[in-house]
């Protein structure tokens, strides 16, 4: 029920009284501008006309043209002759500037208030039809206007009609106290909303708790289940259960909160110790204590196998592949430099050999990729002297003698930052706006066959990765986009990309995407990597302190993706990533290379749960920034892990048992 208790605004303000004092006259020796009305209030969708008169220093009408412009043109439009159209609420300014001949003259600023549309109702969400005594549920309430748009400038307060039956706290938690009927009254924006609740006696007499694990490790997701029964022993369903836990970590020396439990009873521990989980429903309760051990009894470490130093310029991405001759090769790009891509023989990773360098007209070769057959390498270009950028393709049948076979820059002139090769197609980003799909069956003559772009205001793309006919793009504030480019799930193809789903998160830092299906749980995740430099990027002399983390987005239901976990190393920032089996490899910029166990179900912060297996900080005293790790991209390959470091080149490391650190 909606009851209008008082009028919010008198919206008959369309044209305010000419006595309003808000007109701001800029002092000018050459006279002034008089605008009528000097200020006004204009409801959304309404129009009004400003009349302007140019005056000489004596206040007499003078010859002069007048220019109108709005300082909030998307919220308040003004035509060349001063007609206003209110588009969205706020306080906006229109400048009325005189021009004497070809000289700038005095001006006036007209303040236009566009009020919010009147509140039309209060919406309450989260409230079930029936409440049970001794249980709690949370509701939220908001004022909305006639179009259903939330008025976030208005607060809603809540109270109940009978506190002995039903209480509500400042956060919207309803506490059902005893059987009966009570009303929840939500008030805001001059409106009241009344919701009547029926509170029934809680039928639950007994609660029995069970768990999916008898003993667990930190990071394991343990599911607790509360079986409810009534006085007769019959099972009861639909009555809410509240789960809490008490932690007794092994480390008692001022340790912080050490676990997380969800409203449906899933629990994960961050520290080794004892955890007592309590489930309650009305007067019925039960508890269980769970022992959580340290996740890894035996530690591992990453040890250096080899290093291909690049110490004069910054290194960008890498790609490792098996050549047609059976040897192993790698190509790395360069950043802010000479337009080089460097080829390496990594057959013996302890003796990484630089075998060739190609130079294209560019300053940054940000991305490098090699086709599945090991014959075609495509590199991206930015900063070309002719500003045509695009991509350049090389025949790398013999990586010691890469043969430049073609370049392609049609509609890619703004710069290609990232690219991918999948079967006979190359996916190339165009200046952060979209990706184009190029048919490279004949790599000497690529042709564009398709394109994908998010047509939203300010949409921007950073990277794209293809797997099983699905393109996973990372799009900054527009987040992850999954697109059928041949999988068939949506009838898409390279020439007809069709969107499958998307997920965005508030920071707008989405920089990388990597798909992964967990064989343990059969859940399908897309891992979204951030990139953020809140403290800037230092290209020389000083280390950089990046920020950001890996977001685990459960896309098992493609229509309802859920962000369920993260991996966040404090004081460092993510870049590229790779998943192989149950292991995540993250290039963590200043945090080095990180290797993470992502087996089993995932929930919460994997770093704090001790799921990190090992880390490696590449440094070189003669690096572009000396002794400063800045890991760009990882690639696990034939049991080793290759990665590029922005300051020091190509590295190969290996994961081994850390026998010196047994606990």
């Amino acid at each position: 029920m909606v009851e209008r208790s008082r009028s919010f605004l008198a919206l008959a303000l369309a044209l305010a009284a000419a006595t309003a004092p808000a007109q701001n006259q800029k002092p000018a020796a050459g006279g002034s501008v008089r605008v009528t009305p000097p200020a006004l209030t204009l409801p959304v969708g309404q129009k009004a006309k400003l009349e302007a008169e140019v005056l000489d220093p004596g206040g007499r009408p003078a010859e002069g043209r007048v220019l109108f412009f709005s300082r909030a043109r998307r919220a308040l439009r003004v035509s060349r002759d001063g007609e206003l159209t209110a588009v969205s609420p706020g306080t906006h300014e229109v400048v009325v500037r005189a021009m004497f001949g070809r000289e700038r003259g005095p001006e006036a600023t007209v303040v236009v208030t566009v009020p919010h549309p009147e509140p039309a109702g209060i919406e309450v969400e989260g409230a079930p039809a029936v409440l049970y005594t001794g249980t709690n549920v949370r509701v939220t309430a908001a004022v909305v206007d006639k179009d259903g748009v939330e008025r976030d400038d208005l607060e809603v307060t809540m109270r109940t009609s009978d506190k002995a039956v039903l209480e509500v706290d400042a956060f919207g938690f309803l506490h059902a106290k005893k059987a009966g009927e009570a009303s929840l009254l939500a008030s805001g924006g001059g409106l009241d909303h009344v919701r009547v609740f029926k509170i029934e006696a809680n039928p639950v007499e007994k609660l029995q708790l069970s768990s999916s694990h008898e003993r667990a490790r930190t990071g394991d997701v343990v599911t607790f289940t509360a079986a409810l029964s009534d006085a007769g022993g019959a099972a009861v369903a639909g009555v809410p259960v509240e789960y809490t836990f008490r932690a007794m970590p092994d480390d008692t020396l001022g340790n912080a909160a050490t676990g997380q439990i969800t409203s449906d009873g899933r629990f994960v521990a961050e520290q080794p110790g004892l955890y007592t989980i309590t489930a309650s429903c009305g007067a019925a309760r039960d508890q269980m204590t769970l022992r959580c051990d340290e996740r890894f009894a035996q530690k591992k470490k990453l040890v250096k196998v080899g290093h291909g130093p690049v110490l004069d310029v910054h290194t960008s991405d890498l790609w490792v592949w098996e050549g047609v001759d059976g040897r192993d090769y790698c190509v790395t790009g360069t950043w802010g430099a000479n337009g080089d891509a460097i080829f390496w023989d990594v057959t013996d990773p302890s003796r990484i050999e630089r075998i060739a360098t190609v130079t294209v007209d560019a300053r940054t070769v940000n991305d490098v990729k090699v086709s599945e057959d090991g014959r075609l390498c495509i590199i991206s270009r930015e900063g070309a002297s002719d500003r045509k950028n695009g991509i350049v393709a090389f025949d790398v049948t013999d990586p010691r003698k890469p043969e430049r076979i073609t370049e392609f820059n049609d509609e890619l002139t703004g710069g290609v930052h990232n690219l991918f090769i999948d079967k006979n197609y190359a996916y190339a980003l165009s200046a952060g706006r979209r990706y184009d799909v190029l048919d490279i069956k004949n790599p000497r003559a690529p042709t564009r066959v398709g394109s994908y772009q998010i047509f939203e205001p300010g949409a921007s793309i950073h990277d794209v990765w293809i797997e099983d006919g699905i393109a996973y793009s990372s799009n900054w504030r527009y987040g992850l986009h999954l697109v059928d480019v041949g999988n068939g799930i949506k009838g898409g193809s390279p020439s007809n990309p069709v969107k499958i789903g998307n997920y965005a998160y508030p920071s707008g830092w989405n920089h990388a995407a990597f798909p992964w299906r967990s064989k343990d749980t059969n859940k399908f995740y897309v891992l979204a990597g951030d990139e953020a430099f809140p403290y800037g990027l230092s290209t020389k002399d000083n280390p950089t302190y990046a920020r950001g983390w890996i977001h685990f987005v459960d896309f098992t239901d493609l229509d309802d993706p859920q962000e369920v976990a993260r991996y966040e190393v404090p004081e460092a920032g993510t870049h590229n990533l790779w998943v192989e089996g149950n292991t995540l490899y993250v290039a963590y910029y200043n945090g080095g290379l990180r290797v993470v166990d992502i087996s089993g179900d995932l929930m919460g912060d994997l770093y704090r749960q001790g799921r990190e297996i090992a880390w490696f900080l590449p440094t070189h005293p003669k690096g572009v920034v000396p002794n400063a790790p800045m890991v760009w991209g990882p690639q696990p390959y034939k049991g080793k892990i290759f990665f590029s470091d922005w300051n020091s080149g190509l590295w190969c490391v290996e994961l081994v048992e850390d026998r010196g650190r047994r606990r």
């Binding site: 500037r97 070809r102 430099a337 165009s430 952060g432 706006r433």
Partner: protein
């Protein structure tokens, strides 16, 4: 032997020379140039005192640390208290930054369209006009953004042609001109109404699929006459357009790839960078003759700005790959390079601050 009279004359002459030198020194000005380095995301600030040029300051611009963001256009406000820099690549839109002259403090920013490039501020309207070059592949009509530089808000956008460039205003600031590089057009905008008032196809071979062969890249109005000059980059020509008759009145055969232009304040000389010839062309507008072709220090000769006294042309050279760009200062009295300073990668946009 020197006779007394001769000695006196010599002394007088010497004194006169000394006075002349002192007067010359007193008259010597310091010019300050802002140079945008598109591939290193830097702006160089260079001082030139008539003899030597020195980099006074270098600093990074942009906000996306690991991306090449491409500072491209520069201008100094009419009062000389702020300077402005357009950043080509954003997410995805480019940005206009406003800095305080002297401290180089960033005091404002405004999101624009795709690849905002060259710009100027009109003394008549007080507004800044910047072309959205949109060098991003699809040759669609783009826009000129009109910005209130005091509050740094975009107040209007006017649609023009494909890849608009060379945003220049008449001296009075009442008309804005730009060239649409890929649709081959010249556009005129009324600075007060923001409307396109006229346009002209500059490519006699009509562009096919927005791929002009003429590729007009720049336009410079004559300071005193109703004429404008447009560089046809693809045809090694500069055309003179009579803005009263709206007709091409002269064509100048230039070096390869004429790119940016400027006219001396007295309207006597037109200077043109030849991007493909590593040179600056100096044209006598009275005769229509190229007076001198001056080699520049590095290839890919890009921007040019003539000092307010008409004495010097400041010329940016991009070069290629890791070879840094340069700023050449050409003495228009001698038609020689007076000084060269090495700057950052892909030096392009230039603006002068004269005190």
């Amino acid at each position: 032997m020197i006779r007394r009279t001769s000695l006196a004359a010599l002394l007088l002459a010497t004194a006169g020379l000394g006075q002349a030198a002192a007067a010359d020194k007193a008259a010597r000005r310091t010019y300050t140039a802002y140079v945008a380095c598109e591939s290193s995301d830097e702006v160089y600030i260079v001082d030139f005192d008539g003899e030597q040029a020195k980099t006074r300051d270098v600093f990074e611009v942009g906000y996306q640390a690991t991306e090449v963001e491409g500072p491209h256009g520069l201008t100094v406000g009419p009062a000389g208290d702020y300077w402005y820099c357009s950043i080509a690549h954003g997410k995805p839109f480019g940005i206009l930054y406003k800095y305080r002259v002297g401290s180089n403090e960033l005091v404002g920013e405004c999101e624009l369209g795709m690849f905002p490039a060259t710009m100027q501020i009109s003394p008549m309207t007080g507004l800044l006009y910047v072309v959205n070059f949109n060098l991003h592949g699809r040759m669609l009509p783009s826009t000129v953004s009109i910005v209130d530089p005091e509050e740094m808000v975009e107040v209007a956008r006017t649609v023009t042609g494909a890849m608009p460039h060379g945003s220049r205003l008449t001296r009075a600031g009442d008309k804005h001109y730009s060239c649409a590089m890929m649709s081959g057009e010249l556009y005129e905008i009324d600075a007060a109404t923001f409307d396109v008032t006229r346009n002209m196809q500059l490519d006699v071979d009509l562009p096919k699929n927005h791929a002009s062969e003429a590729k007009p890249t720049w336009v410079s109005p004559h300071p005193t006459e109703p004429r404008i000059y447009a560089a046809l980059n693809g045809k090694a020509q500069i055309v003179e357009v009579d803005t009263d008759k709206w007709l091409v009145t002269r064509r100048f055969r230039t070096g390869k790839g004429p790119y940016n232009l400027d006219v001396t304040p007295d309207g006597g000389l037109l200077v043109a960078t030849y991007k493909g010839d590593q040179a600056l062309g100096v044209w006598d507008l009275a005769t229509g003759e190229e007076r001198k072709r001056i080699p520049t220090s590095r290839p890919v000769t890009h921007g040019v700005a003539v000092t307010g006294d008409g004495r010097y042309a400041f010329v940016t050279c991009e070069s290629r790959n890791a070879d840094p760009g340069t700023l050449d200062i050409v003495d228009l009295r001698t038609d020689k390079v007076a000084a060269t300073v090495v700057v950052g990668l892909q030096a392009g946009g230039i603006a002068l601050l004269e005190r």
